[in-house]
Symmetry: C2
Subunit: 764 residues, 2 copies
């Protein structure tokens, strides 16, 4: 590819970018699109835009860029959470290091490469891009030390910046932990692998265990039931059928009115239960059938939220090995209420390790099956090969602009389309893995997509031209530095076009929100659906973090070898900085947050990129027969790895657990100010399993256990499993009858469902 | 090598073994050697043997074998600790699995191999050993499925046995934890990385921190001072010099009598301090100089033992991240008092990760430098090569027995001698790594020696003939199965002789205790030294565990491919079982115990051996072009790895931490029975830093802190750093003068030292 080809490609992309951004600046001012471009604002801040028709609305403007640049880190933190700040810092880090790299390499190394060999230079636009890479430097050149020094400077500055960012984010994470509003997840532990006791119910088992071993700090607990979407309907109907059979000899009261009690019975009829004998003694004597069906249900329970008196106690309970069987009574700190992935909670704990291995194998297989389209794409970029295989295209391809388009643009676009399928598949894999929170699922998918992207976009593209067709890469690890050293400068062209198409274009489409725009249009004007203020997407970290990290990897590996990529990359990062800040502030809504856990991923990727760059440079210096430069690169690799190890020791533990000191200080502060009781009270309604799929507001479901503050000890008496704030009133109510309220509700709903079915059957 | 050569080698070794064992059975009955052969008995059980001169003493007997076989696991546990039981179980596991393997392979596979090709068989003694390996089976033989089935049976049974052993040892470990006498290490946490406060002393910092954050369970603490062997003398002398200068204007009382106080002052004179102004107020006013010197000393402290009220509290404190800086206030459960490696405790915590990496690199370099003698040895076993290189030996080497000796015996002996240097070097590396306990140091050395042995004895020997000379192994991991498949059957001869020489002979020398015997003789009859009942060596797990594991690896890899090794190996394991049990019961003394931590190492090694065997078999089946057998081997590898993962999830956590449930139950039991106060009292004298290097019995040094039970709160008042059981009597003594007792002792000793130096100077 020649400079002119590159410029064509750049021209197309710059044009597209300007077009899209101008279009965006107009579209965002249209009141009809306000839900697309200001989803977060409307959902969280309840802002309204004026709807006046003025000319201003149709003139492109740059105000949004200024706004995006002006907002401070505090504002991002408040609006979009810690993860958004981490993502922002990744971009800031990239801009800083690649500004330096661009300065160093474009002014220091590019001329060296260009004049590296004593050849006749043609006009620059007709120059091949290879002239600007290290491939053009003579073997045993005495200027290779400049490359080595540049590598040292880039690696050193990158490490310093990384360390500062790591420390900054660790501090933010601590502040996020300590300064936030009292968070129920800090007081809560998710217990899985609850052993099945034959005699007592699951809830009692949890209660007994924690009363016995964590008596001083245990508050109460809440059992999580095995209810997948389908399973819920099935078991509900089954149970209802059993109950129905049981009730046949009694007269069913037909006047089923929906009476709302304070606890959990809202919306469900309860009069139908007046027929059951009241009083606990009588009930115990006669309810054999119910007991057995309930026991079956109890054995199904697989997890429970256990609430503790202090944050420190919850932390301790979550970190300690509870019993001599590490697969039973497994404790983890609970995710935040909005973050809980309910349908995974009831997965049996002992399945999880198999699931994890299976999805790992699945992702690896997927990674390698993906090679097929990628190698095909690679074929497209090699024009001669394409002409050989599809001879009828020869006429078209020989046109100048056409060939430039095909070599410079098409391969990345096709790759891009294929890559769109990756994120959903990886999310699926991560779901199957069984994470307990949405954020963990997304983070796990992020890692998978990252590995995938680095392997399939970087390595396969680098190696496919030379080696991958014979699949020999794996068989010669010693040769890999040399292979990479040969391939990288050659593939720099592809990477530059990749930055232009995949990078710039994806940013434009991100800011435009094409899918959202079309869907909004369809819904509003074709389908005429009611506006849904609730549905605002959350930021797709699992696709955007890997994307940015991949461009970082390209930047590092090409920086010293083929510095021509750096200006384009820098434009990408600047544009990304503006666009992503704008999107985080206006478009996406933060429902859950990992608390900055994306940073260790980014850190590791940057370290990987640095070490890979150094290894490739080692290979290149070896090829160029410069023992001095190669010799000086080896200690650099060791120093980078040592730096990484230091960060792992010094900062990584803060991203895995919380320091006891801060938690204890927070607990004391809350106790001193008297807020603790209020926090404990609020814990009762913090986690709610049936909350999102039901139309009734169920604030408290099956809150069972020991809460001395409120004198509620219903969890201890067998069969009584409901704990209300005013327990006496509720428990003495005849219709409750000592049965778990949620089950009553289930049964009632199933009965009404069956009655409706019967009615329908009669009417037909 | 031919069968006759093998028989020669076996004959020599059997003869040597019988000779040594008979000699042992005689020597052990001699009263002069009682310290060599019954060290543990004498030191721990205070047994005495009758010294009558009877003929019986000079007749070889087998009674000791019967005794070694008869003793139960309980007796071994009581006599030699859990590690000994683990070692015993490793041997039992090896005997079981290799009995099965020998049965299967000798009767099932050996005939198949022998008649594998339709060739003319000569007399068996003249047959080459290769005839008995899988190398003799025809390509595309229809009998290869027998090998595959045998591999399945061996792998399956090995996994089942491994699981049973793992579970058994986990149960023993739990029982060891719960049934043992109250262990001070359960109540103690070692704190490192104590931040240097400029104003307050290190001891106060520890006290403040734990009083603030672990108030409910913190008892008191004990500071560990920076005292290496040399440093101790140096700082002592320096401090004394300063004190001496300070005292010059006062008359020094020359009548320095050694008066023993109850606390720490035993053996040290204290009258010389009567000259200092008494009373705390006066002292605080004048002792600026001392204070500054003390502060300097306090800043040097790097670690502290912190004692807790319950086991559970200590566990919690050791597992939780204390502060937001993971390099400060690092807490670990303390090792047992006898196990503490004092001279490593004061290493700055932030150095440790660098030390770990440095020793890792050091061991790797050592591993590869060791290649040089090993390749030389390998050359020796190839007779033709030797004859080419050293032509003057040709005459000697052409003699039949000579050549058999050289090929069958010499290489292993030389290798053996070289291998003797490995253990001390690895122990040195492990010491430099900075472990806090003797047992951890030995376990770390065990891992290093294991990696070393497996690499240098197994891989290098297997690959040296074919590949290692070009150092190409590392460059082609895909070819390794094929390379191994080619090499293993060929190297079976070497491994058989290795079992004979290194295995059998080392057992004989182990039981004979040659070094001990000679040293005992020298000491008794030549040097005429006093008998030292205290010095009894502890069992060298770091050399014996890798040895046994290596033979296991040889057994697994050769089992299906070259089954002739199995009978020899089985004899080794039987002999080892008898010998090691005898040695554990009689010779070695258990000073410290890892609590069964050698088992995970053994487990991992066996899994590694199994997977390696399966990979090699995969290679062999591939070479023999049997797709069915090769195809069936792949799921076996996956199943083995899954089994390993299951064990890691199910059982490994028990070897890393203690379950809270058991600790809490123990705490409650102790509290109920009223033993807790007694335990807390005994904690005061549990850990003693200067205990082994001083001739005085210092039971309590610098026990500082908050102990409500005893009303001792001296740690809080600045300057007073001693806490005795009867604090008022001791602290009010004028000579103590509010200064830390250990420092007074130091100072006093240094002064007497200086006085002696002066006297010597005057007399000369």
């Amino acid at each position: 590819m020649k400079i002119s080809g590159l410029l064509t490609s750049a021209g197309i992309n710059i044009g597209l970018c300007v077009l899209f951004l101008s279009l965006y600046s107009v579209l965002r001012k249209q009141p009809a699109n306000v839900r697309v471009y200001f989803g977060r604002r409307i959902a969280q801040e309840h802002n309204r835009l004026r709807e006046a028709f003025i000319l201003e609305r149709f003139v492109p403007s740059t105000g949004w860029i200024v706004k995006a640049l002006q907002c401070t880190e505090e504002e991002i933190l408040a609006a979009a959470g810690l993860d958004a700040v981490v993502f922002n810092r990744i971009l800031v880090f990239s801009i800083r290091i690649f500004s330096l790299a661009a300065l160093l390499c474009v002014f220091g190394i590019l001329p060296l490469n260009y004049f590296g060999q004593d050849i006749h230079h043609v006009r620059i636009p007709s120059e091949s891009l290879d002239i600007f890479t290290i491939g053009n430097v003579e073997v045993r050149s005495r200027w290779l030390w400049v490359h080595c020094v540049a590598l040292y400077i880039i690696s050193g500055v990158a490490c310093i910046l990384l360390y500062l960012e790591y420390k900054h984010i660790a501090r933010l994470r601590l502040r996020h932990l300590t300064c936030a509003m009292p968070n129920p997840s800090h007081f809560t532990v998710l217990v899985r692998g609850i052993p099945k006791a034959t005699k007592e119910s699951c809830s009692n088992a949890v209660d007994d265990f924690f009363t016995k071993y964590h008596a001083s700090s245990y508050l109460f607990h809440q059992v999580v039931y095995k209810v997948g979407k389908v399973q819920k309907i099935m078991t509900g109907a089954k149970r209802a059928y059993k109950k129905f059979k049981h009730f046949t000899d009694a007269t069913v009261d037909q006047s089923c009115k929906a009476i709302s009690y304070r606890c959990c019975l809202c919306g469900a009829s309860s009069n139908s239960f007046q027929l059951l004998p009241t009083g606990l003694e009588q009930n115990q004597g006669k309810s054999d059938l119910q007991d057995s069906s309930f026991k079956l249900d109890d054995q199904e329970c697989a997890a429970a939220f256990v609430y503790f008196r202090t944050r420190y106690a919850a932390l301790v309970a979550s970190e300690i090995l509870q019993t001599s069987n590490p697969m039973k009574w497994v404790t983890d700190l609970a995710p935040e209420p909005d973050d809980v992935y309910w349908s995974n909670l009831w997965l049996p704990y002992k399945q999880l390790w198999i699931r994890r291995i299976a999805t790992l194998l699945g992702s690896i297989v997927f990674m390698f099956l993906f090679l097929i389209p990628v190698t095909f794409i690679q074929g497209l970029s090699q024009l001669e090969q394409l002409q050989q295989k599809l001879p009828f295209l020869k006429g078209i391809l020989e046109k100048r602009y056409m060939s430039q388009l095909v070599t410079g643009y098409l391969p990345s676009v096709i790759l891009q389309i294929f890559l769109y399928t990756v994120a959903p598949i990886m999310i699926l894999f991560s779901t199957l893995e069984g994470p307990i929170s949405h954020s963990e699922r997304k983070r796990s998918a992020c890692c998978k997509v990252l590995y995938f992207t680095v392997w399939n976009v970087f390595f396969v593209n680098v190696l496919s031209g030379t080696v991958i067709s014979q699949l020999n890469v794996l068989s010669s690890p010693k040769d890999i530095p040399v292979q990479l050293a040969k391939a990288i400068p050659g593939q720099a062209t592809f990477f530059i076009t990749y930055v232009l198409t995949s990078g710039w274009a994806s940013l434009s489409s991100e800011v435009m929100q094409l899918f959202g725009l079309i869907w909004n249009f369809l819904r509003k004007y074709i389908l005429r659906m009611r506006e849904d203020t609730e549905f605002v997407p959350s930021f797709p970290y699992h696709t955007e973090v890997p994307k940015v990290m991949l461009f970082g990897l390209l930047g590092f590996t090409c920086s010293v070898l083929a510095p021509l990529i750096l200006p384009f990359l820098l434009v990408y990062f600047f544009l990304g900085y503006v666009v992503y800040r704008n999107q985080l502030l206006n478009v996406y809504r933060t429902r859950y947050d990992t608390g900055g856990l994306y940073w260790p991923i980014a850190h590791n990727t940057v370290i990987f990129s640095l070490v890979l760059t150094q290894i490739i440079c080692l290979g290149v210096f070896g090829l160029k027969e410069s023992p001095v430069a190669a010799g000086f690169t080896v200690p650099l690799i060791i120093l980078t790895l040592l730096f990484n190890q230091y960060c792992r020791n010094r900062l990584l533990p803060l991203f895995k657990t919380s320091p006891a000191q801060d938690l204890i200080d927070m607990d004391r502060e809350d106790e001193r100010s008297g807020r603790m009781d209020e926090i404990h009270r609020r814990l009762h309604s913090a986690y709610c399993q049936f909350h999102d799929s039901e139309d009734v507001s169920l604030e408290k479901i099956q809150i069972v256990g020991r809460d001395e503050d409120q004198g509620c000890s219903s969890g201890k008496s067998n069969g009584k499993e409901t704990c209300e704030e005013e327990p006496k009133v509720e428990l003495s109510h005849p219709t409750l009858n000592g049965l778990p309220v949620s089950r009553l509700r289930h049964a009632v709903r199933s009965i009404t469902f069956l009655v409706r079915l019967q009615k329908r059957g009669l009417s037909e």
